[in-house]
């Protein structure tokens, strides 16, 4: 088995033995389920009002009124739960002194970082797949277009992946899991707020830079069903860069 494969399996095992993966998935699905229900209820209320006012059933766009808000809500929930998913990954290796085992085995630091990232991404993808039960269940009863839903999921997966890489970086900086959560959450919130700050400085060069750095605009494009190279590049480059930083942190800790 490749070293990366061995690390992925070990991390997945730990996720499911300690109930972290179940708890995170449960909270994620509960919140997104609840938020989806609210979005559907709001939409059906609105169609009822329109029915009463106009006398015929309007054709409300489910993609726009239900799924789009649900994807935004998912992203917010991920902002909260991803740091929980990543906090243990590197902090605990240092605390238990098991990092010593990894760095004296024939595995590279890249193997370690990639293996941990892939394991967390697998859990995330599993959660997202479970949440996809909602559109599949709705499909026979409602009319909506699948492509924006698929690109929306792609957006959530990429955004979640970016969050995971940031969480891994946070976890590499400390051996205390609580501190890892706080660092990761703080960093994610900061980048999230860049989007808002970008609107405040709208039209200026600074505003452009801030908006570009925030994942929000890139995410919005995908949720709208627009797949553009620049947004994909933003997420993938962001993930690779953050994992690279994590690699540097581990490497530098080895020298001390």
């Amino acid at each position: 088995m490749s070293p990366v494969g061995a690390i992925v399996r070990k991390e997945l095992h730990t996720y499911f033995v300690s109930p972290v993966a179940y708890v995170v998935a449960f909270v994620f699905l509960l919140l997104t389920g609840l938020l989806s229900f609210l979005a559907i209820a709001t939409t059906s209320n609105r169609s009822m009002q329109l029915l009463r006012a106009q006398g015929d059933l309007p054709n409300l766009n489910l993609n726009e009124f239900v799924f789009r808000p649900v994807f935004y809500n998912m992203a917010v929930v991920l902002l909260l739960v991803v740091p929980i998913l990543t906090m243990r990954l590197l902090a605990e290796e240092k605390k238990l002194k098991t990092m010593e085992l990894l760095v004296t085995s024939p595995v590279t630091i890249t193997d370690i970082v990639v293996g941990k990232f892939v394991a967390a991404l697998t859990v995330l993808a599993g959660m997202l797949a479970l949440s996809a039960v909602a559109p599949v269940a709705l499909a026979p009863f409602a009319e909506f277009r699948w492509p924006p839903i698929l690109t929306g999921y792609l957006g959530v997966l990429l955004m979640g992946g970016l969050f995971l890489s940031a969480g891994l970086l946070g976890s590499s900086l400390t051996e205390n899991q609580i501190i890892a959560v706080i660092l990761s959450f703080g960093a994610l919130l900061l980048f999230w707020l860049f989007g808002w700050a970008g609107q405040v400085f709208d039209g200026t060069a600074l505003g452009k830079v801030l908006s570009y750095l925030s994942p929000l605009d890139h995410f919005e494009q995908l949720v709208k069903g627009l797949v553009e190279t620049k947004d994909l590049v933003y997420f993938i480059a962001g993930i690779i860069f953050t994992l690279f930083l994590t690699h540097r942190v581990i490497e530098s800790q080895r020298w001390r």
């Binding site: 494969g5 061995a6 399996r9 070990k10 730990t14 002194k97 010593e100 004296t104 024939p106 001390r256």
Partner: protein, 312 residues
């Protein structure tokens, strides 16, 4: 098998080891003996290719620990001071994971696992969570982790620290059994441990190697004595006879006008020597007690182990 040459490591401004050189032959067991903070762990971590040295070189089977870390890591089994255990795994799960990252082929893994569990007598706890094992069993799982890929070189950092006397004896017995084809280097701050397990002992203190000896010669050196250095301006030719005639003097060694006078343990010769030199008008220039580095080091080592020595 292991060549260490002029190895130096600084942590920031602090020198952890300085100009450390030694070598270990294939199949040899070498003890790395020194008090806490001497630099044992630092040296071993450099040998495992996980810590870069500041200068000097370390080679295992001809592979450079800095330039060829992958090759080196395949050849070694390493037990750190704190055994690196995932406490939420069972013994089998843990060793399976270690086997995988050590690069054991999947089809060979079950056999390697059974062998190491057998060898370390872990059969009765193989399904137990590591968190619930006793300190002695945890240490054996730590050893199993270092052994599962059957490496030709074993590096054991204070393998008996924190164990009770019965467990210490067991672990030492295991280490003696592992010797043979394997090259083993183990560190300790306990003098009897070094001589119990290893044929050759390298003594390190304050980051420097202060002695390298076989077990027999080391024990001989342990019979400590008091030494005084005496420097005379115009010593007569028969000065050695005069000195040897003084009560308590065991030997005299001459280096130019300086004489190293060795006396029985517990006897301070300075007064006698001073009086004699003045009375006989030898031109006394200097008289001082010689602090032997090695003996200083011995004083800082743990000399006795409660409960371990009495047993076989």
């Amino acid at each position: 098998m292991i060549q260490v040459e002029h190895l130096t490591k600084l942590y920031g401004p602090k020198t952890a080891i300085a100009d450390v050189s030694f070598s270990v032959e294939k199949g040899e067991v070498l003890a790395f003996l020194g008090p806490n903070g001497a630099g044992k762990t630092t040296t071993m971590r450099i040998l495992t290719a996980s810590l870069p040295a500041t200068s000097g070189s370390a080679k295992i089977a001809g592979y450079d620990c800095f330039d060829q870390p992958k090759e080196v890591k395949r050849l070694i089994g390493y037990l750190p001071e704190v055994p690196p255990l995932y406490t939420e795994m069972t013994v089998t799960e843990y060793l399976t994971f270690v086997g995988r990252i050590k690069g054991i082929e999947p089809e060979r893994l079950p056999v390697a696992l059974d062998q190491v569990i057998e060898r370390m007598s872990l059969g009765e706890v193989r399904g137990r969570l590591i968190a619930n094992l006793s300190r002695g069993f945890k240490q054996r799982v730590g050893l199993a982790q270092a052994l599962i890929h059957d490496p030709p070189v074993l590096i054991l950092d204070e393998p008996t620290v924190g164990l009770d006397p019965k467990q210490i004896i067991e672990i030492r017995q295991l280490i003696r059994e592992l010797a043979g084809a394997r090259t083993i280097i183990l560190s300790t701050h306990i003098l009897p441990e070094a001589t119990a397990v290893a044929k050759r002992v390298v003594i390190i203190n304050d980051g420097r190697i202060v002695a390298e000896d076989t077990q027999e010669q080391l024990s001989a050196r342990l019979r400590r004595s008091e030494k005084v250095s005496l420097t005379l301006k115009h010593p007569p030719l028969d000065v050695q006879d005069h000195l040897l005639a003084l009560p308590g003097v065991l030997s005299v060694r001459q280096e130019g006008h300086t004489f190293l006078v060795e006396a029985e343990l517990g006897r301070d010769l300075r007064e006698d020597l001073g009086r004699t030199a003045v009375q006989k008008d030898w031109g006394l220039l200097e008289l001082k007690l010689v602090a032997m580095t090695l003996e200083d080091v011995f004083l800082r080592l743990t000399q006795h182990e409660e409960g371990v020595e009495a047993q076989p």
